[in-house]
């Protein structure tokens, strides 16, 4: 059996790397990739706690399924927006996108 702290450490590392990338990246697609990494890290935590503490009633896995679906929906809409933006301006540099900036 794997110690719970190992899984939590892995999830924390993945979330930290994803957050760093989301804060630092210039490219909008890379930013979205990093947000997906963070969602995956949270899902690891949910599944781990569900497996270790609620094996009979896996509420955590249900939450992970919902997070997964919402993450997929977010990826679809976000990437559609980026494709629409990239059609007008050639590059998806998030410092240069000012369409919704007021």
């Amino acid at each position: 059996m794997i110690p719970l702290s190992w899984v939590l450490t892995l999830a924390g590392l993945l979330f930290g790397i994803g957050l760093l990338g989301a804060l630092l990246s210039t490219n909008a697609v890379r930013m979205l990739i990093c947000i997906e990494l963070m969602l995956n890290a949270v899902n690891i935590n949910l599944v781990a706690f569900s497996r270790y503490y609620g094996a009979q009633q896996p509420h955590g896995e249900i939450a992970a399924i919902f997070a997964m679906v919402v993450g997929a929906a977010e990826a679809a809409v976000g990437l559609a927006i980026f494709v629409a933006v990239a059609r007008n301006s050639k590059l998806i540099d998030i410092d240069k996108i000012n369409l919704l900036k007021w």
């Binding site: 990246s25 210039t26 997906e36 009633q57 997964m68 679906v69 990826a75 809409v77 590059l91």
Partner: protein, 177 residues
């Protein structure tokens, strides 16, 4: 160290390295492929922890759908390469790193709290036998379709809205009807 733990460590190393590659690689396509590697590794972690249904769902949703959408978006947005070389935002670099390190400090503190929380029940944690795959899946299905039926329906409606919305947004504006 058991074989299971060794497998976990290998998969975890792959995940962390691929995540670093997704953040710091120069070409955006390499970042997308590294993200696929991370998704695969996370699916492996689900399987190692014992949640087989979520491992399959991870393969179907993330590797099947999200990865394809990512690669399509990289290609459709027509950017083979990042202009200027470095993928790092130069202007807000120090502010970002400051925010990030504050977050990491908070995360480590919470993590230590969790460790203290876990220690009294660690023998119990070690004794918990993961449920059989079939039983686990049955419990999952009953929970999803009895207790969480309304969120389930709501999320199916969300998926329909996202399907239509993504098509409407990504469509060419001067599309002749």
């Amino acid at each position: 160290m058991s074989l299971e733990q060794l497998l976990f460590l290998i998969v975890a190393a792959v995940i962390v390295l691929a995540a670093l590659g997704a953040v710091f690689s120069r070409r955006i396509m390499h970042a997308a492929l590294c993200a696929v590697a991370v998704f695969t590794g996370v699916g492996g972690i689900y399987a190692i922890v014992g949640s087989y249904f979520l491992a399959v769902a991870q393969v179907l949703i993330y590797i099947g759908a999200v990865a394809t959408v990512l690669v399509f978006a990289v290609m459709l947005s027509g950017q083979r390469d990042i202009s200027g070389g470095s993928p790092i935002r130069q202007q807000v670099r120090w502010k970002s790193i400051l925010i990030w390190s504050a977050f990491v400090v908070g995360l480590v503190m919470v993590f230590q709290f969790t460790l203290n929380l876990t220690v009294p029940t660690s023998s119990q944690v070690g004794a918990v036998v993961p449920t059989e795959p079939a039983t686990g899946l049955r419990a999952l299905g009953q929970l999803l379709f009895y207790d969480y039926l309304l969120p389930f329906e709501a999320i199916s409606m969300l998926l329909l809205l996202v399907l239509i919305g993504a098509v409407v947004i990504a469509r060419k504006e001067s599309d002749p009807q």
